[in-house]
């Protein structure tokens, strides 16, 4: 982890009518950091993440992602980030190779680069024999790992992972996190949301959103110490219980 800042957010706000989905959040994420972005359903996580990916414009506040201004340079931001979610990842009816070609093409990689990347990826995941298998024939765990690799095909500076391990078996979940560690150790910034609280503890730092605001931001160890509890799960529950506008 270096001291360079990958994401810098200050007073970022998003309003829908008179509903404030994201309420003046402020934080920095360092380059190569694994940053856990937690919050209850409806706390504003998805809205915040969409703004950071340049998919939706903030109502007010400042943000700089991968060195680019959120308002003026969202096209540059998109070129320098990767995105993966549990819901949308790869095309089921294309093969691994075809998916790679497609995503590589989107990010403007040359045929040579795509070929090289694909080769490397397949070898790394031990999927060499499966290059021409349709993605839908792969087990879920493999799909998720593959989809993470594809979201990194253009060597993004930051990768956003939206609940990447939902429903995955415990061993594959850990293999997935090993991949996240590897990416971070190569200098990629990882911005991740999850409902598994043990995964929150794998992060370098976590933030917890409640009612559109960031209520806590620190290392997992410091947070558990501060709240005087055993793990992140209890920290999370203590904070999220205070939520007024949530669904409960």
């Amino acid at each position: 982890m270096s001291n360079r800042v990958a994401i810098s957010v200050s007073g970022l706000t998003k309003q829908f009518g008179d509903f404030t989905a994201v309420d003046a959040i402020t934080f920095d994420v360092k380059q190569g950091e694994i940053f856990g972005f937690l919050g209850a359903n409806g706390a504003g996580k998805t809205t915040a993440m969409r703004m950071l990916c340049g998919l939706s414009l903030p109502t007010s506040g400042k943000a700089n992602v991968a060195g680019f201004d959120l308002y003026k340079e969202s096209e540059n931001i998109k070129k320098n980030i990767g995105y993966m979610s549990q819901k949308f990842s790869l095309y089921d009816d294309l093969t691994i190779r075809e998916n790679n070609r497609f995503y590589g093409g989107i990010y403007g990689l040359t045929d040579e680069q795509i070929k090289e990347k694909t080769q490397f990826m397949l070898k790394h995941l031990h999927l060499e024999s499966q290059a021409d298998t349709l993605v839908k024939a792969l087990p879920l765990g493999w799909k998720q790992k593959l989809s993470f690799s594809v979201s990194m095909i253009h060597d993004p500076k930051i990768v956003f992972l939206d609940e990447p391990t939902g429903g995955v078996d415990p061993i594959t979940r850990r293999e997935f996190w090993t991949m996240i560690y590897e990416a971070a150790s190569r200098g990629t910034t990882v911005f991740v949301t999850t409902h598994y609280m043990d995964e929150a503890e794998y992060c370098d730092r976590v933030s917890i959103m409640v009612d559109g605001r960031i209520e806590a931001l620190d290392t997992p160890a410091a947070l558990t110490k501060k709240f005087d509890v055993k793990g992140m799960e209890e920290v999370f529950i203590q904070l999220a219980r205070k939520a007024k506008r949530s669904d409960n």
Binding site: G39, A40, N41, G42, A137, P139, L140, G141, E163, G166, G167, V168, D169, P170, I171, T172, R174, W177, T178, Y181, S185, H195, Y196, M197, D198, E201, Y202, P220, A221, G231, M232, E233, F236, I237, A240, R241, A243, S246, D247, N248
Partner: protein, 307 residues
């Protein structure tokens, strides 16, 4: 008294293109009346298929099953009168209001909300303030409660809940389990599936499922007691390097990250811990701490997967 749910050597295959997928492979288990029974396993373990066979939506290739004493194929009509089912996806009409959804499902089972109000009260009061709101405009936690109310409206004797807590945050999950506990006190048998291993501890008994097979069935305590080896939790300043060093050490059998710790087992049952510590310190690990711990369900699940 006969059991609430019984499955005997159930097999189910699906044809997917040229390949045959074994969704369920020799599944046998019994659920006692009034029990809260959990099917624990990741996506693709076969939980949904098993639910569909038990709720008469699918027919097994081999084997047999009974719910509330009725056979799932020949007596499916009887079963449909007395089970409650909440499928994995929120099966609600997004364009109908909370009230309309409830009364639709009530009439479907030939009853009304008024008739069974006492029964669903605990859950329904939480969504009643929003009864005029369209279901599509509800948040995740409330949709889940509405779906549960709809599944309960006809006082089922057995309740099947397929991954009710998937994608729901920790607070809503905890509340949902509290609701299940109170339902159980009213005498309903509950069969629930979940991919979250920690939820196993909230069940009376659980079946751990993986790739269409049941790896073990027992009380949560019974499962953790079967863990074959001593388990250690280890922490150091650089956890990533620690994992590499441990995994390359031949004395270490398994090493998995678990929250802020790594959980490790050794090839030798009586591995001396000082020598491991010594090696790690020599490799430059700072703030090293290692302690013996009780295994969790997740440790056991991984242990069973590796068998």
């Amino acid at each position: 008294m006969e059991s609430a749910v019984k499955a005997e050597r159930v097999y189910k295959n699906f044809q997917s293109g040229k390949t045959e997928i074994e969704a369920l492979n020799n599944i046998s288990f019994e659920v006692e009346r009034g029990e809260l029974f959990g099917l624990i396993g990741p996506d693709g373990a076969g939980k949904t298929t098993l639910f569909r066979i038990l709720t008469t939506l699918m027919i097994a290739n081999k084997g047999n099953a009974w719910v509330d004493g009725f056979e799932v194929v020949s007596q499916y009509k009887e079963i449909r009168k007395r089970v409650g089912y909440m499928p994995g996806r929120f099966s609600l009409y997004q364009d109908l209001s909370v009230e309309e959804n409830i009364s639709f499902f009530a009439t479907l089972f030939g009853t009304t909300l008024e008739e069974n109000y006492e029964f669903v009260k605990d859950i329904y009061v939480q969504i009643e303030p929003f009864k005029k709101r369209r279901a599509g405009a509800l948040s995740g936690g409330m949709k889940q409660k509405l779906a549960l109310s709809c599944a309960l409206i006809h006082r089922p004797s057995v309740l099947f809940l397929d991954e009710p807590t998937t994608g729901v945050d920790a607070v809503s999950r905890q509340e949902f389990w509290d609701l299940l506990k109170s339902l159980q006190h009213q005498g309903i048998t509950i069969v629930v599936s979940t991919p979250y291993m920690d939820e196993a501890n909230l069940c009376d008994r659980v079946a751990l499922m993986q790739n269409g097979k049941i790896m073990d069935i027992d009380t949560p305590k019974g499962i953790t007691q079967k863990f074959p080896k001593p388990l250690w939790a280890i922490i150091a300043a650089d956890m990533y390097k620690l994992m590499h060093d441990l995994r390359s050490d031949e004395r270490v059998d398994t090493c998995y990250p678990f929250g802020q710790y790594h959980h490790i087992t050794f090839t030798e049952l009586n591995q001396e811990i000082q020598s491991i510590e010594k090696t790690l310190v020599e490799k430059g690990h700072a703030d090293l701490s290692i302690q013996k711990i009780e295994p969790t369900i997740e440790d056991c699940f991984m242990e069973l997967m590796n068998k």
